[in-house]
C-alpha cells in the first residue's frame, strides 16, 4: 500500500513538473510554472523597469558617459568619444526594446519558425524571406560597412552595448514576450543591425505589381495599360517643380528591346525530374507575396522645408512625418546623441546606431519614400536536364547556390537551396509550392537592396553635417531605399533631393516581368548621383514631397514608380504657397491637416450629376450631409464615411467589368484614371457596364455606387444617425508587433485618412511627427504613437498615443551640454567602465 501510495504521489508530482516546466504547443507556448512564478514570471515585467539607475558600471566603456533623462523618458547621451556614444545607444535601446529588436531581426531573416514551431505557413514565410534575399543583402551590406572605419566602429560599439545589457539581464527582467513565447534573447551581432536596415529597405521598396501588370497587358494591350495603370495625372505637382532646369549632360538612354517581352509558358522540371508543363499564374505570385507579408503600398510620408523668408521668426522650418505601419512597441526610439563631434536629436531604429530622422545644431532633415522602382522580376527559363542551369541568350549558365538552413522549433531543420542568377535571386522556382497552393515557375528577383551599400555611413555623416554641402556629401552613401530627403540649415538654405540608387532604364522598363534571357532587360548601370533630381532654395521659398511623382516629363531619365496620387502633395503645395509669416503652430496644423482634397476636387461635380438622377428619400439625406460637409475628415463627422465608401464603390464599379480577375484577384486601374475620367471625359465608354442591354453613363454609375454605399452603410451602422461617425467607423488600431491581444491599442477614433495630409489609416499612419525651427538655438517639437518603453507593463509603453490621436506635440529638449538644467529633466545616470 505504501509503495502504491509513493508511486502514485511521486508520479503526480513528476507529472506536475512536466506540465509546468515545459511549453505545450502553440496554444500554450510558455512553461506555466516559469510564467506564473511571481518571483520571475510575467509579474516581474512591471513598473520597476521604469526606475532609472543613478550609476552603472559597464565593461566595454572607454570613458564615463552621462545620460540625462527627461520627463518623457528620452535619454540625452553625452559621451566623450564615438565608441562610448554608440555603445550607450545600444545599451539603452536594448534596455527598453530588446524583444522588439530580437523579433524584428528574426522576422527579417526568416527565423520565426525557430521560436514558434512547425507551422507550415511560418516555415513558408521563413523560406520566402530567405528567397527574397534579406540575409544575402544584409551580408553584402555588412561587408561594405565593415570596410569603413566609422561604420565599423559604430556597429561594433552598438553591438557591444546591446550585449552588455543582455549579459546582465536577470531572468525576471527578460521582456515578457520572451516569457510568453518561451525563448531567450540571443547575443546581438553587427549582422543583425544590417538585417534590420535591409528589412526597412524592403518595407519601403519591396512592393511590386509587375506580375499583375504582365497578365493585364496580355488582356488590355499597351495603350490601355498606359492610360489606366501608368497615367500621368494632370493634377500632380512633382517634387521638383515643373520647369526646373537640369544642369547636367545626361547619359544616353538605354535601348529598349525590339518587342516587349510577353511571359512564356515554362516547361519546368518536376520533383522527379520528369518534364511537364507548369500552370503559370502571375496572380499566384502576387498572392504569395501578399500572404507572406509583402510591404504595405501605403508606406509613404510627408516632408517639407520652408525658407526663413516665409516664416515669422525669419528662421527656416523643417517638417517630417513618415507614414508606416503602426505597432507597439513603436518603430521609433527617441534619443539625443552627443559627443565632441556630434550633437544630434531625433528618432532611431531600435537595432541600429545613429539617428535616422532628426536635427543637430546646424541642419534638420526628414525623409519620404521615393517610390521609385528598384525591384524587377524576371522570368527565367531553366534547363530541363539540369535545373541549376538557366538560359542567357543562346547559352546555358549555371546559377550559384546558397544553402539556407531553416531551424524549426520542435521540428527538423529544413535546408533550402537558393539559386542566384545573373539577373537576381530565384524566388519562385519549380516545383516550389506557394502559400496559395499552386505550382508556379521560375521567377528571379533583382533588387537594388541586394547590392553592396553602406547606408549607415550616410546616416553617420548626416548626423554630423553642418551645412548643405555636407548634407549632400552624406547622401552620396545612401543607395537603398530611395528617399526624398528634405533639408533645412540654420544658415538659411533649404533643399530637397530624390536620392537613391536608381537603375538606368529605357522608357517603360520595370513595369512588366522581364526576360532573363535577353540582355536588354538587364540593369546596365545607375543614374549618376549628380544627375538625381534635386532643388536648393527655390523661388517659392519652400520644398515639399508626399511620395508623388518626383519630376515632370522633361527629366532625361526614366523613373518607374507607383507614386502617390495628387491629393497630399497638392494640398501641401497649395498651403505652403499661400502661407506667409509661417509659425511653428502653422506647420503643426498643416501636418495634421484633414482637408479631403479629393472630395474638394470631385464631390461638387459628382453631386451635381447625382442629383439629376432618380434618388430615394434616404439617399437624399446622404446628399444633404455631403452638401453640408466642410470637406474635413473629422472623426466625429458622418460625411467622410459616405464619401470614402462612395468613392471606393465608384472606382470599383467603373472598372470591375473591364478588368479581368484571376483567382479572385483583380488589380484595378490607378485611381488617377478614374479621377481623369470624372474631370475630363465624363462621356467615357468605361462607365458602361459590360453585359447589360442599355449603355450606362456616368450618372448611372454614380447612382448605382451611391445606392450601394447607402445600402452598405445602413447594413453596418443602421439608419443614418449617431452610428455614422468617421472615427468609429474606420477605427484606428496600433497592434502589438507580434499581434498579441491586449498588448496593442484598439478602437482609437482618429481624423484624416490615406491621401489626406494627416494620413492616419486603420493601422498605418504618421509614425513620427517632427517640426524643427533652425534658429540660433534650434527648437523642435515631435510625437510618435507609442512610448519609449517596450515593456507592456511600463507606464511609458504607450503614453504618447492619446496625444498623438489628438494632434498634440511635445517640445523636444535639445541639450547643449550634460550640465544644462531644465525643469523637465528628471534623472541622471552616470555610466562608467568596469565591472
Amino acid at each position: 500500500m505504501k509503495w502504491f501510495r509513493l508511486v502514485f504521489l511521486a508520479s503526480m508530482t513528476l507529472a506536475l513538473f512536466y506540465l509546468l516546466n515545459f511549453p505545450h504547443g502553440q496554444k500554450l507556448p510558455f512553461a506555466p510554472g516559469e510564467f506564473f512564478n511571481p518571483f520571475a514570471g510575467f509579474w516581474q515585467n512591471n513598473l520597476r523597469s521604469d526606475r532609472i539607475p543613478e550609476k552603472l558600471h559597464l565593461t566595454g566603456l572607454a570613458d564615463s558617459v552621462i545620460v540625462r533623462w527627461d520627463d518623457r523618458r528620452v535619454p540625452h547621451v553625452f559621451a566623450r568619444n564615438a565608441h562610448d556614444l554608440y555603445f550607450t545607444q545600444g545599451y539603452l535601446t536594448a534596455r527598453e526594446r530588446l524583444w522588439q529588436m530580437d523579433f524584428l531581426v528574426r522576422a527579417a531573416a526568416g527565423r520565426i519558425s525557430e521560436i514558434i514551431g512547425p507551422d507550415s505557413a511560418l516555415v513558408e514565410y521563413d523560406r520566402y524571406r530567405r528567397r527574397i534575399g534579406i540575409v544575402y543583402a544584409a551580408e553584402n551590406a555588412l561587408k561594405t560597412a565593415l570596410e569603413d572605419d566609422a561604420s565599423r566602429l559604430a556597429l561594433n560599439a552598438y553591438t557591444a552595448g546591446v550585449n552588455a545589457w543582455i549579459e546582465r539581464l536577470e531572468t525576471r527582467d527578460i521582456p515578457v514576450e520572451f516569457k510568453i513565447l518561451h525563448y531567450r534573447p540571443e547575443l546581438w551581432t553587427p549582422l543583425k543591425s544590417a538585417l534590420l536596415l535591409k528589412h526597412m529597405a524592403w518595407e519601403l521598396t519591396g512592393y511590386s505589381e509587375e506580375t499583375l501588370h504582365t497578365r493585364l497587358r496580355a488582356a488590355l494591350g499597351d495603350s490601355l495599360m498606359e492610360e489606366l495603370y501608368f497615367p500621368a495625372s494632370f493634377l500632380a505637382k512633382p517634387v521638383i517643380p515643373a520647369g526646373t532646369p537640369w544642369n547636367f549632360r545626361p547619359l544616353p538612354q538605354p535601348a529598349p528591346p525590339e518587342t516587349l517581352f510577353q511571359a512564356f509558358p515554362l516547361r519546368s522540371p518536376g520533383l522527379s525530374g520528369l518534364t511537364r508543363h507548369s500552370p503559370f499564374s502571375f496572380s499566384d505570385i502576387q498572392l504569395a507575396i501578399g500572404n507572406l507579408g509583402g510591404p504595405n503600398p501605403a508606406n509613404g510620408s510627408n516632408n517639407w522645408a520652408v525658407s526663413g523668408k516665409k516664416t515669422r521668426s525669419g528662421y527656416p522650418i523643417l517638417c517630417s512625418d513618415p507614414h508606416l505601419g503602426l505597432t507597439l512597441p513603436s518603430i521609433w526610439y527617441e534619443i539625443q546623441l552627443s559627443s565632441p563631434e556630434v550633437n544630434v536629436y531625433g528618432v532611431s531604429l531600435p537595432g541600429a546606431p545613429t539617428v535616422v530622422i532628426g536635427f543637430n545644431r546646424h541642419i534638420a532633415w526628414g525623409m519620404t519614400n521615393a517610390h521609385t522602382d528598384v525591384l524587377d522580376w524576371y522570368q527565367v527559363e531553366f534547363n530541363l536536364a539540369n535545373p541549376r542551369e538557366y538560359r542567357y541568350q543562346a547559352e546555358w549558365r549555371t546559377a550559384k547556390q546558397r544553402l539556407e538552413k531553416i531551424a524549426v522549433r520542435g521540428g527538423q531543420t529544413l535546408i533550402d537551396t537558393l539559386l542566384i542568377t545573373r539577373e537576381g535571386l530565384v524566388v519562385f522556382q519549380p516545383p516550389q509550392k506557394t502559400a496559395s497552393g499552386s505550382v508556379i515557375s521560375g521567377m528571379a528577383l533583382r533588387w537594388a537592396g541586394h547590392d553592396p551599400s553602406n547606408e549607415l555611413a550616410a546616416s553617420l555623416k548626416l548626423n554630423r553635417a553642418a551645412n548643405y554641402r555636407e548634407f549632400m556629401q552624406a547622401l552620396a552613401d545612401h543607395d537603398c531605399p530611395g528617399q526624398n530627403y528634405a533639408f533645412a540649415g540654420s544658415d538659411g538654405d533649404i533643399a530637397i533631393i530624390h536620392r537613391g540608387k536608381f537603375p538606368l532604364r529605357w522608357k517603360g522598363e520595370g513595369r512588366f516581368v522581364g526576360d532573363a534571357r535577353n540582355p536588354a532587360y538587364h540593369w546596365r548601370g545607375w543614374i549618376p548621383g549628380e544627375h538625381l533630381p534635386g532643388i536648393k532654395n527655390p523661388l517659392p521659398g519652400f520644398v515639399a514631397s508626399a511620395n508623388q511623382v518626383p519630376v515632370d516629363s522633361t527629366y532625361p531619365y526614366f523613373l518607374n514608380g507607383k507614386y502617390a496620387p495628387f491629393d497630399r502633395s497638392r494640398r501641401i503645395f497649395e498651403r505652403l504657397s499661400e502661407m506667409e509669416n509661417i509659425t511653428v503652430q502653422d506647420m503643426m496644423a498643416l501636418q495634421t491637416d484633414i482637408l479631403n482634397q479629393r472630395a474638394r476636387t470631385l464631390l461638387p461635380g459628382m453631386l451635381d450629376i447625382l442629383e439629376r438622377q432618380d434618388i430615394s428619400l434616404a439617399e437624399a439625406t446622404n446628399i444633404e450631409v455631403l452638401r453640408a460637409w466642410n470637406l474635413e475628415n473629422r472623426r466625429d463627422a458622418p460625411a467622410p464615411i459616405i464619401f470614402e465608401s462612395w468613392w471606393e464603390n465608384l472606382h470599383r464599379m467603373t472598372w470591375e467589368d473591364e478588368i479581368p480577375a484571376e483567382n479572385g484577384t483583380a488589380l484595378l486601374p490607378r485611381e488617377e484614371a478614374t479621377i481623369d475620367l470624372l474631370l475630363r471625359d465624363t462621356a467615357s465608354v468605361f462607365f458602361d457596364i459590360r453585359g447589360t442591354e442599355e449603355p450606362e453613363t456616368l450618372g448611372d454609375i454614380l447612382l448605382l455606387s451611391f445606392g450601394k454605399t447607402h445600402e452598405e452603410l445602413t447594413r453596418r451602422f443602421g439608419a443614418f444617425g449617431e452610428g455614422w461617425n468617421w472615427g468609429k467607423a474606420r477605427g484606428t488600431e496600433i497592434p502589438h508587433l507580434a499581434r498579441l491581444k491586449g498588448f496593442g491599442r484598439e478602437g482609437l477614433e482618429t481624423d484624416g485618412n490615406h491621401d489626406i495630409v494627416n494620413a492616419i489609416k486603420k493601422a498605418h499612419g504618421p509614425s513620427w511627427r517632427m517640426v524643427v525651427e533652425l534658429g540660433p538655438r534650434v527648437k523642435a517639437w515631435g510625437i510618435y504613437p507609442g512610448g519609449q518603453s517596450g515593456n507592456p507593463g511600463s507606464a511609458h509603453y504607450d503614453e504618447f498615443v492619446n496625444d498623438w490621436v489628438n494632434g498634440k506635440y511635445y517640445e523636444l529638449l535639445y541639450l547643449q551640454s550634460a550640465a544644462e538644467t531644465h525643469p523637465r529633466l528628471i534623472a541622471k545616470t552616470v555610466l562608467r567602465g568596469g565591472k
Partner: protein, 112 residues
Amino acid sequence: MILSFLTLFILQVLTPFWWWILVVPFLNGLTLAGSSWRAAGAGMFSAGLLWFLGSLHLYLTHARWIISRISLLAEAPSPYLLIIAATVIAMVCGGFAGSSGYALKALVKRSD
C-alpha cells in the same frame, strides 16, 4: 510550516526557479512532517500562500498594467483570476510534493 514558508521565500527571491515549490515541500515532507496530511497541508500552505501574497503584492503595487494585459491576452474575465491561477498552481504542487516526500519517508521508515 513556517520554516518551509521562509525557506521557500528566500529561495524564490534569490533564484529564478519556479520548481522550489516542488522541492521544498517535498523535503519538508521527507524530514519534518508528522503525517501525510500535515506534509500535504504544509506544502499547500507554504507554496500557495507565498505565490498568493507575491502575486497579490505585485498586483497592488507595480504590476497592475502587465497583469491587466496578460489577462486580456488570456481572455480572463478578471485579473484576479491570474492570482488565483498562480495560487492554485502553487497549492497543488506544494500539496503533492509534500505528500510524496512523506510517502518516501514512510516507506524508508517501514524498511528500517
